[in-house]
């Protein structure tokens, strides 16, 4: 009987390490606020009494949970896209899904005047609905166009880039004809911002994330087989077209549902799978769940930075992810090339 000692222990340790980092970041996130990171608050957290506990449960807990589920969704979505498109550049942003989302939101705000509705909750919901619908239209366009072109990975990426530019152009057109207030509202919507978190949106995203994680048990090996090449995967009995189609729709759904509630949060979906693959290779048994975990870590970290770097101002987290993400990405690329 060949036993587990044949397996690399490295992968297991990295999984545990990422889990520990996630837990400590959640803890730091809960004790940081307008006064920066206050370590002595840890004891108050456990007591859960008075006004402090109201701040924690009404503001910090939803925000932290949102960072976790959104980061995980974006990370998982990016990992799936990069796997089925066999392209390290694939992410919700490069495939035009974020831009389509922004167009949907702008349309809701400027044309549909969603912010003039009675409650702010309703306004947010209508805007999110438009953003979601728009990004799913973008996905379906990519997939249906790609199907005609035999679903080759390269053509899908190029369709995504083209559609992203197309949607951006329409967003700008809308903004050009909008009045100042609406134009500002659309601009602010695009800054990914976790302060919009509410328990219902977190639950919705979390539920979708859980369903995706469970379906992963069935199909992760097909992603591995795809790594060996299109023909090899087919010879193993995999319908590669359907796999690509299905995974694209699921991954887009995952990122669209996050983006429509919280705005554009760049780089997390791109960078999280890269970090994971750098350390453990492309075995998707590990890449998929650990990309979700790394995505959560990145967004939790960015959120803590966004709340503490310019006290007492909180910067939208989308700005931080791109600011931190770009140099981090370059660092990992550099590290990989210097290793080879």
């Amino acid at each position: 009987m060949y036993s587990k000692h044949l397996y690399s222990k490295k992968r297991f340790f990295i999984a545990i390490l990422l889990l520990c980092i996630t837990i400590s970041l959640i803890w730091i996130s809960l004790i940081s606020g307008n006064n920066g990171i206050v370590f002595s608050d840890t004891f108050k957290l456990l007591e859960a009494k008075g006004s402090f506990s109201i701040i924690v449960f009404e503001i910090r807990v939803p925000r932290t949970l949102a960072a976790f589920v959104v980061g995980a969704s974006l990370g998982l979505s990016g990992a799936m896209m990069q796997a089925v498109l066999k392209n390290p550049l694939a992410s919700p942003f490069t495939l035009g899904i974020s831009q389509a989302s922004a167009f949907g939101a702008s349309f809701a705000i400027i044309v549909f005047q969603s912010y003039s509705s009675t409650s702010s909750y309703e306004a947010g919901f209508i805007t999110a609905l438009f953003a979601f619908a728009s990004s799913m239209i973008c996905t379906l366009l990519i997939v249906s166009l790609g199907k005609r072109a035999n679903m080759s990975a390269e053509s899908l990426i190029l369709f995504g880039v083209a559609l992203g530019a197309f949607f951006s152009a329409f967003t700008m057109l809308l903004q050009y004809f909008a009045d100042d207030i609406d134009a500002a509202a659309t601009l602010f919507w695009t800054f990914g911002d976790l302060s919009k978190a509410s328990m219902s949106t977190i639950l919705a995203i979390g539920l979708v994330l859980l369903i995706c994680l469970f379906s992963y048990f069935k199909i992760f090996w097909k992603f591995d087989a795809l790594m060996l090449g299109e023909d090899s995967a087919k010879s193993l009995g995999i319908n590669t077209q359907n796999l690509r189609l299905g995974s694209m729709i699921v991954a887009s759904f995952l990122s669209a549902i996050s983006v429509c509630f919280f705005g554009i949060i760049g780089f997390v979906g791109l960078i999280a799978p890269h970090i994971v693959r750098l350390f453990i290779g492309s075995s998707h048994k590990y890449v998929l769940p650990l990309s979700a975990l790394s995505g959560a870590i990145l967004l939790l970290l960015a959120d803590i930075v966004s709340r503490t770097i310019l006290l007492p101002i909180t910067i939208p987290v989308g700005i931080i992810t791109s600011m931190l993400g770009a140099p981090l990405f370059l660092y990992f690329l550099y590290k990989r090339s210097s290793r080879c």
């Binding site: 060949y2 044949l6 490295k10 090996w221 591995d224 090899s232 492309s282």
Partner: protein, 268 residues
């Protein structure tokens, strides 16, 4: 017996194979030879349904492949592709893929046993947790052969399994392929460019030229005339102690015998 009758393959209105008829037996190592673009790889790919067939019939004993789904065909056929790209997977990952089509997320004890046997047989212990992209061509080809055999197929299709290998590794690989074919009772079909090795190791030779079969013969019945016709070049073929010696094209030296003799004496 694998029976291919009247097979036609077309891709994007371009005919790639016409009128292929073959009957291949259990435990036979069949080697396809032929010029570039003759349709050698296409024949393998159409058998495993990577390429759709246009017309014709493929069946293994009573099992009909022509109308079966790609998933059910894959249970009988293992295919090793000609080119492999960077995959960033470890040796163990690659071996496990072969069993997952049967077992999914958690491999069963039976799968673990098969994988362990394969590791021992192919001497892969050293590379188990190594990224296959960092291994040498010979090691990688061995791993892919091990992975193909791990699928427990009835039919083994290998597309140029010894390209990029040095002579010793070529022979080792072909010995392995031949032995496994006899031992596990596969019907093996291999594309090979090395004619000497093809004649030496094959039971049957399939000669493909211009999208159709020129000859399908026992390897011992192959004549220099057939090979001349296949490659449109002059050819001399000798057999010595069960080894074929094959000379293609014209000699560039007037007194070739002298030359080779001189060299031999220098060496000793």
């Amino acid at each position: 017996m694998l029976k291919i009758t009247n097979l036609h393959v077309k891709v994007k209105k371009k005919t790639l194979l016409t009128n292929i008829n073959l009957e291949l037996k259990l435990k036979d190592l069949n080697i396809i030879i032929g010029p570039n673009g003759a349709g050698k790889s296409t024949l393998l790919k159409s058998l495993v349904k990577v390429i759709d067939i246009h017309k014709g019939n493929i069946s293994l004993d009573e099992i009909e492949f022509t109308t079966a789904s790609i998933n059910s065909v894959s249970k009988y056929i293992a295919y090793m592709a000609q080119f492999n790209q960077n995959s960033n997977l470890t040796t163990l990952d690659v071996l496990e893929i072969s069993r997952r089509k049967y077992s999914g997320f958690s491999l069963r004890e039976h799968d673990h046993k098969l994988i362990e046997n394969s590791i021992n047989e192919f001497a892969l212990q050293k590379f188990l947790n190594r990224d296959i992209d960092t291994l040498s061509g010979g090691e990688r080809q061995k791993i892919f052969l091990a992975a193909a055999i791990l699928q427990e197929p009835k039919i083994l299709l290998l597309d140029e399994p010894i390209s990029h290998l040095d002579p010793k590794n070529q022979i080792e690989m072909l010995e392995l392929i031949r032995n496994k074919t006899k031992e596990k009772e596969f019907i093996t079909i291999t594309v090979l460019h090395d004619l000497q090795n093809a004649l030496h190791y094959a039971d049957k030779i399939i000669m493909l030229k211009n999208k159709e079969i020129l000859y399908f013969e026992n390897s011992l019945n192959i004549t220099q005339k057939m090979i001349s016709k296949l490659f449109d070049t002059t050819c001399k073929l000798f057999w010595q102690e069960g080894h074929p010696f094959l000379f293609l094209g014209h000699s560039h030296h007037n007194n070739t015998n002298n030359h080779s003799h001189k060299k031999e004496t220098n060496d000793t």
